[in-house]
């Protein structure tokens, strides 16, 4: 299997996802309205109350944090999309084609990365209008964007794996957000970790999101960056080494383990119907004065 076909397969799948991105209303909202809302809402509601030490404008502190927030929220749509492809039989169709197996996931995450690039540009633009500046020069700014894209790739693969495991689109999306929200709020995304109670600090300091946001912040605000960036890269690399093979492996055998997808939809409906009838019958029997 040549590398040329791998690239071709990934770009075909990426093309599919980019088309969906501009045609599905939810996806458009996740990529446009939501990031802008994050920038404006958090700046104007929390900006007056939160004064992180050493930062003149809260937006300079905030924006690197909500880069990660917006990317993580957007990536939850990958869990939805992959679970949706599973339930609609798209993944079965792909698995019966002579294409590279990992391309379905790689193409999806590649499309996510392109979307994230757009989201980062949009947020930076809106942020700039209300006072955000990169303080460490263009090189550091580009590095920050690159690092944000890298953590985005991690989120996409984690959510792809989640979608493959959960299988139900709505549960996958909700489950993803429920996992992301506590992680984001127990990190340095909005406030310095040092203001948190001691027991929470212990976790917040090693929270992968803290490590990433701190590195992004260092690249945006200036100051010593090397340690932060190495730590962030180590976290990103570590997570990718685990999640990419896990997701690809899960994809390869995803439908093979479930009886549920191996029987016809009709059969499932009938089974559910029988179960429902049984429950109703027993419920009626157990009602006092019900049929004897």
């Amino acid at each position: 299997m040549s590398a040329g076909w791998l690239v071709s397969d990934i770009s075909t799948v990426t093309g599919r996802n980019l088309r969906r991105l501009v045609r599905v209303p939810t996806l458009i909202a996740f990529a446009t309205v939501q990031p802008v809302l994050f920038v404006l809402l958090f700046t104007y509601t929390w900006g007056g109350a939160v004064h992180p030490p050493g930062v003149a404008h809260y937006i300079d502190y905030l924006l690197p944090g909500i880069f990660v927030l917006a990317i993580a929220f957007g990536a939850s749509q990958t869990a939805v999309a992959i679970a949706d492809d599973l339930t609609t039989g798209m993944i079965d169709r792909f698995r019966a084609l002579p294409m590279t197996r990992s391309a379905v996931l790689a193409g999806r995450t590649a499309a996510d990365a392109l979307r994230n690039l757009f989201v980062l540009a949009l947020m930076t633009g809106v942020g700039a209008l209300i006072g955000f500046r990169f303080h460490a020069g263009p090189g550091a700014a580009l590095a920050a964007i690159g690092l944000a894209l890298a953590i985005g790739v991690v989120f996409s693969w984690i959510f792809a794996l989640l979608g493959l495991l959960v299988r139900d689109p709505e549960s996958a999306g909700l489950g993803g957000l429920l996992a992301v929200i506590p992680l984001i709020f127990t990190s340095s995304t909005f406030v310095p970790v040092t203001t948190m109670p001691g027991w929470l600090q212990a976790f917040a300091k090693v929270n992968p999101i803290t490590l990433t946001v701190d590195a992004l912040r260092a690249l945006c605000l200036g100051g010593p960056t090397a340690t932060h960036v190495w730590q962030a890269l180590a976290v990103i690399g570590g997570l990718l080494i685990v999640t990419v093979p896990a997701a690809v492996l899960r994809y390869r055998r995803t439908t093979a383990t479930s009886i549920y997808t191996c029987v016809s939809s009709d059969y499932r409906t009938r089974t559910l119907r029988t179960a429902l009838d049984t429950i109703l019958a027993s419920a009626i029997k157990n009602v006092p004065g019900g049929s004897k």
């Binding site: 299997m1 039989g89 079965d92 002579p98 093979a256 191996c262 029987v263 009938r270």
Partner: protein
Amino acid sequence: MRERPAIVTDGLTKCFGQVDALAGVDLEVAAGTVLGLLGPNGAGKTTVVRILATLLAPDAGRAWVAGFDVVTQAAAVRRSVGLSGQYAAVDGYLTGRENLRMIGRLSRLDRRTVRRRADELLELFELTDAADRTVRTYSGGMRRRLDVAASLVAAPAVLFLDEPTTGLDPRGRIGLWRLLGELTGQGTTLLLTTQYLEEADRLADRIAVMDRGRIIAAGTAEQLKAQVGGDRLELRVAPGVDAEALATSLAGLGSGAPIVDHEVGTVVLPVANGPAILPAVAARLAATELRVADLTLRRPSLDDVFLTLTGQPVDALPGKST
């Protein structure tokens, strides 16, 4: 000249947890022919298709498609087959044309071939007018046609269609049958699963009847009907009349035991000597005073084949085994 069979399976078994989905399936489908895999829900039809399309590995037994082993040469099998599963697996947010082109590219066709094949198939499946609309706007029948078209983009030697007309209205079903008839005239080997006896009768050269993970009969529709033999006297009970009591009253009259379909409320009696049986039946009915709404004497249908082979009508088998 006898060609190598397009599909061969040898003792396929597959078990999901406690449930034996396949309990030793042997099939052989000659190249260029249509096999109808007929059976009730949960008989194991889909499992057979999924194994042949390399989506699922068998627990035991072997299978070859287009001469390639589905387990050890899965990649070669995937280059030779087209699969249309039970759901219309097409992307609702892409247009019909984009869907076909995507599948074509992922089937490793070059861009020019992909464009040409997509246009040809859109034309063949009467989707040209809707080609540049997103599939979300399609009717169920159009989606299903596009789904079958997608499985044909790479012009596969072997095509698997898993219940292709499920969910279609009668008009859509007949339209798809016509298209499939045209396709198989061009040398594609087709394995078709269906619960509709009429569908198997209409499309398939040979029919294999599956029940509870086994092939319980195989042959042409005519052979299967001949195997059942004789004519069928079908009595539909009047409302409130017990079909079982009617069957009991008819015992001993026909060439075999009467078979009761409780869901439809019919009793089917195999008879050897045709209309000559009618006076005797009328006498029994008069004696028992069981009222009958309808009475038909006919040639055996595939329904009867199924009834005779399994002792149960095709759509009344309980979902207790898969």
